[in-house]
């Protein structure tokens, strides 16, 4: 199955890369500039090339005959005849990275054939017009087919023409012999992004960032554990999969690519598109089978039934565990995983929950999921973290020193309005002291000075070694979270303030008064 993928990727080596290059021109030129500056990245890319190429070659030589058969089987459409296969074979034989006139010739002859077939098709429609006229849908479908074919031909023509252009393309292809096979701009660009810090002269950074990343990841996972709003990502799901390195193909999309509001993704290279039509157009670049009317009409249909090379994705963020340069690299399974992972881990949280105004998310789906449950999170820890499930809360409390379950506010209030013979004075006072106790849970709240005040005022009432001192939070690895790319306590901190605002219906100062009043 690897072979087949290889074939697909290799069919239109030059054209595909060129076609794509026209798509995001800016990033491409950026890439080229990097090429000019340094030789270093090339080596890494070469690495990739080497990794993939041998397997490809191996198959190429030993099982070329076999390769034909699956291809033949796969191409059920009448468009690709045996000649096509033959043509592809020859092309593979001439699989030279440099511009090749014979390849160009092949391309042109293919185009010619294509135009001829289209001609036949139109003739057929014109001939049987009377019959078909009764069914307008069918006409429309045929029309669509023709237009699709035409556009594909045009695109092909442009890409073929593009390969003739000198300068940039030329250097590119000569410098990177493996590019043709890889034919994945995302990959190339991603690598360039990953290399960037090294260009800046910080050679040790990757080591360091790996180190930080460990913490960061720990923090993140940790947070996941505590707060299920951070979702057990799909990206975590493949943790247990443990594919040995090299058995899968690693793709890395560029940051911009990930963040682009795309909904349609290329199953081969991972590139995203706003419109499915654009994706289909793009797919054509990956091989002839995508040019069939069937493939164009219903994308990916055939792909599903075909065996494919396992693809895994790498996060472009240098130092991230999901980045392929990381020592303990854990690949991401799908593009969606990449997108969600990148946004959750390396982006600002720009979506705020409109209900609680506290929780922030970087993935809108997360926000929506949260909003469904927002306010229903009744399981609250003294540290301010909320849980929608009781077992999560108790798991959290069992894990950490000094954290205790927080009693819902309404209950405290309800209990307060108890029997009639209570003196309300004491009621209020005690409320105050309850609050002051809750107050002390905070690790380093915005109002840290207030915490200290209360601590002082409580004096001998409160054991300074009690679990609620901020010290304990340090022991739980909560200190120094500023280093984290994404503070694991960002949420809890804010919800902590929520706790304060919610439960402190009395000003915290009352806590101080209580001790004096109690003496009355």
């Amino acid at each position: 199955m690897e072979l087949r993928e290889g074939l697909c990727a290799g069919q239109w080596p030059n054209s595909s890369s060129k076609e794509l290059s026209s798509d995001p021109p800016s990033s491409y030129s950026e890439f080229n500039s990097h090429q000019g500056q340094q030789k270093w990245p090339n080596s890494s890319i070469l690495d990739y090339g080497v990794r993939i190429e041998p397997s490809f070659r191996g198959f190429d030589q030993s099982s070329e005959v076999h390769a034909v058969i699956p291809l033949d089987l796969s191409n059920k459409s009448k468009v690709l005849g045996p000649e096509d296969v033959h043509m592809q074979d020859t092309e593979e034989a001439n699989n030279i990275p440099d511009w090749d006139p014979s390849a160009m010739l092949n391309n042109l002859s293919f185009l010619e054939q294509k135009i001829h077939q289209l001609q036949n098709l139109v003739q057929l429609i014109a001939g049987g017009g009377g019959q078909v006229l009764g069914r307008p849908t069918e006409v429309a479908q045929q029309h669509q087919l023709i237009t699709a074919d035409l556009t594909s031909i045009i695109a092909q023509l442009i890409s073929t023409a593009g390969s003739l252009l000198p300068s940039a393309q030329n250097t590119f292809t000569t410098d990177l012999p493996s590019m043709g096979q890889l034919a994945q701009p995302g990959e190339v660009l991603g690598v360039s992004a990953g290399v960037q810090p090294q260009n800046n002269g910080r050679s040790k950074i990757s080591e360091e960032s790996n180190q930080i990343d460990k913490n960061a990841n720990h923090g993140v996972e940790h947070n996941n554990h505590m707060d299920e709003h951070d979702f057990k990502d799909e990206e975590d799901a493949d943790d247990g999969e443990n594919l040995p390195p090299g058995t899968y193909e690693i793709l890395q999309l560029e940051k911009e690519e990930i963040l682009a509001p795309h909904t349609h993704f290329c199953a081969i290279c991972g590139k995203g598109f706003k419109r499915d039509a654009n994706l289909r157009m793009h797919m054509r670049g990956h091989g002839d089978e995508y040019k069939t009317p069937a493939a164009l009409a219903k994308p990916h249909k055939e792909l599903g039934s075909e065996p494919v090379v396992i693809k895994r994705y790498s996060c472009p963020y240098a130092g991230c565990k999901r980045n392929k340069d990381h020592k303990k690299f854990q690949p991401l399974k799908t593009i969606l995983c990449v997108k969600n992972h990148y946004k959750r881990t390396h982006c600002d949280k720009s979506y705020t929950c409109s209900r609680c105004n506290i929780k922030k998310f970087s993935v809108i789906a997360d926000l929506k999921t949260h909003e469904k449950h927002c306010g229903k999170d009744k399981w609250l820890c003294s540290c301010g973290t909320t849980f929608s499930r009781k077992d999560k809360l108790f798991g959290h409390i069992a894990l950490f020193q000094g954290h205790t379950p927080a009693i819902p506010i309404d209950e405290t209030r309800g209990n307060g309005g108890g029997p009639a013979d209570h003196s309300t004075g004491i009621e209020v006072i005690n409320k105050g002291s309850v609050n002051s106790v809750t107050f002390n849970f905070g690790p380093s709240t915005p109002g840290e000075t207030v915490v200290h005040n209360i601590m002082d005022e409580k004096g001998n009432l409160d054991d300074p070694t009690a679990c609620f001192s901020p010290l304990n939070f340090d022991t739980c690895n909560f200190g120094g979270f500023h280093e984290f790319p994404r503070p694991p306590f960002e949420d809890s901190e804010s919800s902590f303030s929520f706790l304060l605002s919610g439960s402190c219906s009395y000003p915290p100062k009352i806590g101080a008064e209580s001790s004096s009043n109690n003496n009355l």
Binding site: F394, T404, P405, A406, I407, P408, N415, G418, H422, N518
Partner: protein, 686 residues
């Protein structure tokens, strides 16, 4: 006791002096001042048995008063309103334990009072019978009294999680009872688990809101736990592993935990080596299959095993329990027992000290005999309602287990009268004997009277005994504290007088439906000054004068049942009201007491339970007045007909005060023939 009497005499003497002499002379005559404080404290250390002794002591002089106040460590106040409490607490500065079981209403301000007065001195507080406090009061207590190690919050059915969170502030807490705190959930228990890390004992019995999470967290956080009561909690095998990992756990009660089944016991690989007591009674979903793996869970240190109402005791089960080398106590109440199972228990290499087979069906002479022959060290044996056993069993028991201190054999109807003679002859060390509903006669009783250590004797519905037999008991069993003669219809005044003169320590007597007993018995019983429970129901000859004798002499009277003593009237109530200041429970149904008597009775400040049904002389006004005056009431039984006659605001007020009114609508039943209480032999044979 005697000391205090002496001192009281001195006090009286002193009073006389003060009336006749001037103040300067008085200061000279107060020779108590010459006693050093250490000496007085030493005397005080001996005044423990009777709570009145200390009171008398403190009334001797100012010096004694102050020493006693300083010496007193525990306090059991009658009232908990903050005014009263405040003065009491200032008088006793060194209190370490406050028992509030006599105060049904303890509001938060009372707790605030206690916490401010006692501060760090207070180590223990009992709130198990009190209501109306909330988390705020408890928080006050926990924060002020930092040395609190013991809190009993049982029956705080309205206590919420916030209350539990307040308790969690008592960082040094070691023992905590939360039985029947139904409103507490996992959250509250979680707070306690996190806050009170030194907990050694916790009872969560009937805390039905607490499940695996709370208990599991408790086991994870409180590593010091020795005793854990989880009865009737909806827990499953989820929390069991962490419980069994508690390295000091000695006592584990899992009674009625329906969520624990065979599979949860089988899965458990970890064993708790420290476990000494395990109670799995009424765990309906445990069968012999799960119990067979019990030896894995409870290590070799298990001493007490309770499997009541669980699984049939077969030889298979008994064999599977062989591997518990330290076992001393086995309780199998209510289980189906086979003879083979009993024999297999007999084959255990351990020698049991305590065995309970009450209500076990299938206990036969054969099985029981083969068991007791092997376990000769048995101290306590309970074979209540083992209806199939006969003389043979008793002969074997008495023959091999001569060291028995407790034998309970209620309703062993097939045991012949000769068997009881054997008990008296061979088991001389008996302290507790329950022969209720048996065929014992005077001859047997005479033999049993040789057990001179007997402190509790129950002879209810033993229709064959007469004054003669009871007189033997009175003559020989001077340590008797509890005597039950319920429906022993042949007993008369002479029998009771023999008991009264021979058993000065008598604390509880039941002569209900001994219809021939008259005031003479009560007068003689008034010699037993420690009497705290008198059940004289259905003795129509008793009058107010008899009652007055009891009331004036038995100051410790707590529980009084004079239902159907038709002749008792207001005069009896007057003497009760003036003398029995400790009376907590009274049943006056069918007596001749009227409004006046009831209102007088309301003077008794610690009266908690009052049953007044079928009293012809009562009017709604009188009842209302009495109920209003008697502030300590928690439970009143009234006839339904009064429900509409009493003002609604009054009922509301009583309810708010913590008094529950139970409305009854039962008509007078004719007295049944005494014999009908006896189980017919036909019913037993099957």
């Amino acid at each position: 006791m005697e000391e205090s009497m002496e001192l009281r005499a001195m006090k009286k003497k002193k009073k006389k002096n003060t009336t006749t002499t001037t103040t300067t002379e008085e200061s000279l005559t107060n020779f108590f001042d010459f006693l050093s404080e250490e000496l007085v404290v030493l005397i005080l250390d001996f005044l423990n048995e009777n709570p009145f002794d200390r009171k008398s002591f403190s009334l001797v002089c100012k010096y004694f008063y102050s020493v006693e106040a300083k010496h007193r460590k525990t306090l059991k106040p009658l009232r908990s309103n903050s005014k009263h409490l405040g003065s009491v607490l200032t008088r006793y500065p060194n209190l370490t334990r406050i028992d509030l079981t006599l105060c049904p209403r303890v509001a938060d301000n009372s707790l605030a009072e206690i916490s401010n007065a006692c501060k760090a001195n207070l180590r223990s507080i009992d709130l198990s019978r009190s209501r109306f406090f909330s988390g705020t009061g408890l928080l006050n207590l926990a924060l002020s009294c930092e040395n609190l190690v013991e809190i009993d919050l049982s029956n705080a059915t309205e206590l919420m999680d916030s209350g539990a969170a307040a308790v969690a502030q008592a960082k040094n807490l070691e023992r905590l009872w939360l039985a029947r705190c139904k409103m507490i959930t996992d959250l509250g228990v979680g707070c306690i688990a996190v806050g009170c890390r030194k907990l050694k004992l916790i009872s969560l019995k009937w805390c039905v809101g607490v499940g695996d999470f709370g208990v599991g967290l408790m086991a994870v956080k409180c590593k010091e736990i020795r005793s854990l009561d989880l009865s009737f909690l909806p827990i499953t095998d989820e929390c069991l592993p962490s419980i069994l990992r508690l390295q000091y756990l000695e006592d584990l009660v899992l009674e009625g935990c329906f969520g624990i089944d065979d599979s949860s016991l089988e899965v458990l690989k970890c064993s708790c080596k420290s476990l000494k007591k395990l109670d799995l009674s009424s765990c309906q979903n445990i069968t012999h299959v799960g119990l067979s793996s019990l030896t894995n869970i409870a290590g070799e240190n298990l001493e007490e095993l309770t499997l009541s109402y669980v699984s049939p005791v077969t030889s298979v089960l008994a064999d599977s329990l062989r591997g518990l080398p330290m076992l001393q106590t086995v309780k199998l109440d209510g289980c189906l027992v086979t003879s083979a199972g009993l024999k297999a228990i007999g084959d255990w290499c351990v020698s049991l000290r305590e065995l309970s087979l009450s209500k076990c069906s299938g206990v036969t002479d054969d099985g029981l005999s083969s068991l007791v022959i092997k376990h000769r060290d048995l101290r306590k044996l309970d074979i209540t309602c083992c209806r199939r056993i006969t003389y043979v069993s008793i002969a074997h028991i008495t023959n091999s287990c001569s060291a028995l201190t407790s034998l309970k054999m209620e309703s062993c109807a097939l045991v012949s009268r000769e068997a009881f003679v054997l008990i008296g002859q061979r088991c001389r060390f008996l302290e507790e004997l329950d022969l209720t509903d048996n065929e014992i006669d005077d001859e047997g009783l005479k033999s049993i009277s040789r057990c001179s250590k007997l402190s509790s004797l129950k002879l209810g519905i033993c229709l064959d005994i007469t004054d003669k037999g009871v007189a033997h008991v009175g003559f020989s069993c001077s340590k008797l504290k509890e005597l039950d003669l319920y429906r022993c219809t042949d007993i008369t005044d002479s029998g009771i007088s023999a008991i009264a003169s021979g058993c000065p320590d008598l604390e509880m007597i039941n002569i209900a439906y001994c219809k021939d007993i008259s005031d003479d018995s009560l007068v003689s019983l008034s010699k037993c000054s420690r009497l705290n429970t008198f059940e004289g129901r259905g003795c129509p000859l008793i009058t107010s004068s008899g009652l007055a004798a009891i009331a004036t002499q038995c100051k410790q009277l707590v529980k009084l049942d004079i239902k159907k003593c038709f002749k008792i009237d207001d005069a009896g109530m007057v003497s009760l009201a003036y003398n029995s200041q400790n009376l907590r429970q009274i049943n006056l149904s069918y007596t001749a007491v009227t409004d006046a008597g009831l209102v007088t009775l309301a003077r008794i400040s610690c009266l908690q339970s009052l049953t007044i049904l079928h009293l012809d002389g009562l009017s709604p006004g009188g009842i209302a007045l009495a109920l209003l005056a008697c502030e300590g009431l928690t439970k009143v039984k009234l006839q339904t007909s009064f429900k509409s006659l009493l003002p609604h605001p009054l009922l509301k007020h009583l309810e708010g005060r913590g008094c529950a009114i139970q409305w009854r609508d039962k008509v007078l039943q004719a007295e049944l023939d005494p014999l009908c209480w006896k189980l017919k032999l036909e019913d037993i044979m099957y």
